[in-house]
Structures are given as C-alpha cells and as structure tokens.
Symmetry: C2
Subunit: 347 residues, 2 copies
C-alpha cells in the first residue's frame, strides 16, 4: 500500500526529509516495499495546500526555496490549518515538525493527540511531547492501533531508540550514559586544544552549533531532556525533568582541562541514568573526567555517542551525528520505515 503523508510544519527538517524521499524513492520501494505520496502540508508561516492525489514535491521545494507561499501552488485546496489538515485530509501519517515549545510541548502535543484521535500514525522530531508525556502518548497510540515514532528526539539521525528497541531486543538494558549534546562537546574539544571557554562558545555560535542564547546547551538542559526521554523509553521507568541532577560545563576552567590531560583523562558532559538495585533511578547530567580507555572519551567535535549497559553484552556504544537538518530529516525516515514494516506485517 502507499502511505499518504501530511507535513504539519515545513521548515528545514521537513524539506530535508522531502529531499531524501525524492532522491531515494526507487531504492525505498525496491528494498523495503515503501511507497509514499505526500498529500498535504500545513505551515503557520508558509501557508497550506492539500491534494488527495498527492502534491508535486519538486515544485513545492522550488517554491519554498524561492520564498513563495504554498497558496501559489497551482492545484489543491488551500487555507486548511494544522488541525484541519490532521483531521480532514486522507493522510495516513502525520509528520509533526512544528516549531514547538520544549517545556509545554505545544503545539505539537495537541497535534499528536488530534492525529491519534483521528486514527492516524505520527512521526515527529519534537522533544517536548516526549519529555512531557511519552508513556501516555504511547499508551494512547497502542489503544488507537497507530504508530508513534520519534527517533529524532535524542541523537537526531543516529538511531539510538531503534537500536535499543529492536537491535538490542532480548538483552535487558539496565542503564546508559552518553554525550548527548554536540555543542558542549565541540566546546570541550576546542578547550582541550587550548582555547578559552568564551572563544570556543563564540566559534560554536559562528558554526551554527550553539544558539545566540546558549543556556539550553551549556547548562546541560538539552542533555537533561534526552536523559528523561531515554529513561522513559529505553529503561521503561517514569522520570521527569525534576528528577535529574543537572550541571553544565560553564564552570570548567582551563586548569580543570589541563589537570585532566595530565591524568590521562578528558572532560565530557555526560548524561546518564541507571537502575539502582532497589529499582529507583539514578539520573544526572554532569561533566565527567573520563579515562581515555572509555569509548566515549574518543568522541570529539560535535559528534554524539551513547553507551547502553546490557545484561548479555555488557556495554554497547553507538557513535554518530547528533544534529543537522538532513540527519534529523533522516530520523523521520527511520520512523517511516519502521511504521511501514508494521503496516506490511498487518496486511
């Protein structure tokens, strides 16, 4: 069957996914039996368009790049808002990638609920809803017999959730630790080369790694959100923001860095959670001096990495990119292929 897709929000990640889908259309059909048609887009800035027969996405990409509104698309129905697009189109899958407040999870949260209520699958890169109520959302998806994929919320396209859920199926994951924020890892890498914190931060901002207000990265809040998500999804334990001790990298000095070097160690901002013998969770984000023999110690620049502690295999580490437009777009494809396998299985 052909999966009919609708984009709610259409920024760089959505455009990245579109490019991947168009370039790989033939390969995806042949290798995975994945057929798709993009029927609707609704974006608060760019406008909206719906054609139940499918949109000409090459034309749409060109229009968006030229800064044109979707209303200028020659066919289809215009003017549907996000909720109408979710409820009133023939889309099977809602690709929820609106600009969303990470604390409240809105408007993504409302969109996801509306999609589930309409019996539609959701794939999304929005962290907010996952941090806020992932268990409730997964329960609801199951009850409604739909799929909720959010591979991109932790390490963008590096498929850590898929790895934990399927590839490591059968081994019990008892904890994890990782480098979950590329900006801070980039800054620490530069500091180890001798750069001062302020200069390294400035460089990260120039390269687009860090925001103008870098608080979310350097104070560890971005990593904290990922610890909360992984604890809920991979360890299967309930955990909220407030349960995680969080220290960022702003207090690390040149002296700290040099001292670690002398000890054959390296500072990394590590997010981690472990199930304690009494069943409670020890979760934190903090700078850790890792011995160079730790696989995470060799992960430099803006690269991310995650080590799962398992009962059968001991530590298993995956290293890959943790950000990027195309990489995050790709995470949606991981979710779509997973959904496609499910749907094919049910046919």
């Amino acid at each position: 069957m052909t999966l009919k897709l609708a984009f709610i929000g259409y920024g760089v990640v959505g455009q990245g996914l579109t490019e991947i889908l168009l370039e790989k259309k033939e390969m995806l059909r042949k290798r995975y039996g994945f057929d798709f048609s993009i029927v609707a887009i609704s974006d608060i800035m760019k406008g909206s368009v719906y054609d139940e027969q499918g949109l000409d996405m090459n034309m749409i990409l060109d229009m968006v790049k030229e800064g044109k509104k979707l209303d200028e698309y020659p066919d289809g129905k215009k003017g549907m808002d996000s909720l109408q697009t979710i409820k009133e189109t023939n889309a099977d899958v809602i690709i929820e990638i609106t600009f969303t407040d990470v604390k409240t999870g809105q408007p993504a949260l409302e969109h996801i609920h509306a999609a589930f209520d309409a019996g539609k699958h959701v794939v999304s890169t929005n962290k907010g809803p996952v941090v806020k109520e992932v268990r409730a959302l997964l329960d609801k998806a199951e009850k409604k017999h739909v799929h909720y994929g959010f591979e991109g919320v932790v390490l963008a396209g590096t498929p850590v959730i898929n790895l934990a859920k399927y590839t490591l199926a059968g081994t019990k994951i008892t904890g994890f630790k990782g480098i979950m924020n590329g900006t801070t890892n980039y800054i620490l890498t530069r500091m180890e080369e001798g750069m001062a914190y302020e200069d390294a931060l400035k460089k990260a901002q120039e390269l687009g790694y860090a925001e103008a207000d870098p608080t979310g990265d350097v104070e560890g809040l971005d990593a904290l959100g990922k610890v909360v998500i992984l604890t809920n999804v991979v360890l299967g334990e309930k955990l909220g923001w407030e349960d995680v001790k969080c220290t960022g990298i702003t207090k690390i000095t040149k002296e700290d860095i040099n001292l670690a070097k002398k000890e054959g160690k390296r500072w990394k901002l590590i997010g981690s959670a472990f199930v304690k013998p009494d069943g409670s969770i020890d979760a934190k984000v903090e700078p850790v001096k890792l011995p160079l023999s730790d696989p995470l110690a060799g992960v430099n620049e803006a690269i991310n990495a995650l080590t799962f502690t398992t009962d059968e295999l001991g530590p298993v580490t995956i290293v890959g990119p943790g950000a990027g437009k195309r990489e995050t777009g790709f995470s949606l494809l991981v979710d779509l292929l997973e959904l496609n396998r499910k749907v094919q299985g049910e046919e």
Copy 2:
C-alpha cells in the same frame, strides 16, 4: 504461535542460548510475543534426543554439565543424526551450531541446505557457509520462504548485521572499517603498555582469547572472513577471500608502537571495504596507525568496533563485545527475535 526449535550441534554456544532462553522466557513472551519450545538436539558427541512435545531443557542442561549423553534423557526418540533431525522432526527452526570447517563450510553448509529444502528456518553462528556462499543461501531462503539469520558471524552478540539491515535502513552504506578481531586488539593494547609481542600473545592464550595456534587471528584471517561477509551482506557486493589484501600484526615492533605514540596515534588491525567510484571494491585487512580522534582508536582490550560510512549520517560506529559464549549465544536470540517478527507479520 510457538516456534519449535532444534539444535544441530550442542556446545557451549547452544548451552549459552538455552540458558538465556530459559531465564528470559517470560520477558520474551511479554515484550516480543516470542514463544518457543525446544523439540530436538543432535550432537555428534553428545548424542541426540527428540520429543515433538518439547524437551525439559533444565534437565538437559544438567545432564550435559554432568557429562551425560542425551540418550540418558528419560523420554523421546534417540539416535537421530543431524540430517534426520533436520528433516524428520516437527521443528520450525534449525539452530545450526556444529563445529564447522571455516574454509569448506562443512558440515554446516549441508545442514543449512537440508533445512531450506525441508522448508525450515535457520539461525547459525557458523562463518563458513556465509563466507562461502551467502548470496546463494539468501536467494534460496527467499525462494523457500524461510529465514536465514547469522548475526553472530561477525561480532558475536554485538548486532552489526541487524544494525546495518534495519536500524540504518534508508541510508546507503558505502563502506565500513572496524576492529573485528578481539585477540589482536588485546595484544596491541598490551604492547602499547610496553609488553613484547610474544608475551602479549601468551597472555591472550592464557585468557582463552587466542588459540594454541594463533595464526588465524594474528595473520588477520579471522578479520578477513568478516570483511568478506560484511561486503556481501551489507554492501551487497560479491567478494571472495582472494579479493582481500591481508596483513596481520606479527611484524609490528615495539619501535612501531612507540613511534605511533609519539605521533599521537595508535596501531589497530583494521578490516575495511569501500565501494570505489567505478563500483569496484577496495577491501583489505592491515594494521593502521589511527589518530586518537578516530572513534576506533579508543577501542581497547578484546572489544570490537565497526564504523559504517553512510550517505545520510556520515560515519556511524558501534562498539561492543566480539566474542564470548554467552554473547555468541545471544546473537542467536537476535536472529530468533527477528524471525519471530517476520512470522508474526505473516500471520
């Protein structure tokens, strides 16, 4: 449905898998809907037993540990050889783990063909058949609508094949490089600490990492087989033993190690294959001086690691154990769960 399993060969890996299956029975049923019954075992040394209603595996494990023959099992049919067990029992899945010649692939190869001919799935940790004719075997399995799983042949329980096939689905893998032999990595780690090659090898033998005749490891042949397998399976390109340039670690001297140290580098035995622009394959096994910034450089002791080069994500690395009885037994569980997902999908 309950999958009925038969063991062909029942050494430490089979016993390891049995322990995992017994310990995790409830979890596997609940989390993955995986139900199983072990109906037959045929081992050239230990004898054979078949009960279509399922064997009492706790009793079998005890008997094997006490050195008893399977013929002493109180029920069931005795004396069936491996081919009879494959063809004449009610098993759905053949767990092929006989002691097999890696060059000829026998007797595993004959067993696998017999299983496919009988319409039965196969999971196996035997490298020989995969190196020898993996494409033909996969084609035959497809034609017969059965599954052929061999996750354990590359990095034992570290699920690199599953990662490439499912977790990285959608990204094109254009090459790989990795530390695929734990023994040589252990020796290089000790040499970097100052130990001479001969002493490090002796220590590896004491610890059970290296065989009495260490040629297969130290001359790179074990890694070579894995390069051949991954090239065929992950890159989808035909490649034989003879197409891989192979150099082991026996000529690396203390001076080489020290020189690399001074350069901020580290010697690793790297197996790799890349698709060249003209479509041909550049495959080799050789010692490489890696910069410490390479994620593979931080992988020490007997640990293995593999970096896939992908079009969407750039390099993605997985680090985990590459050997061990229980870890290799676990690789069969990875295959069984994958098979179970397929079978559930078809129901």
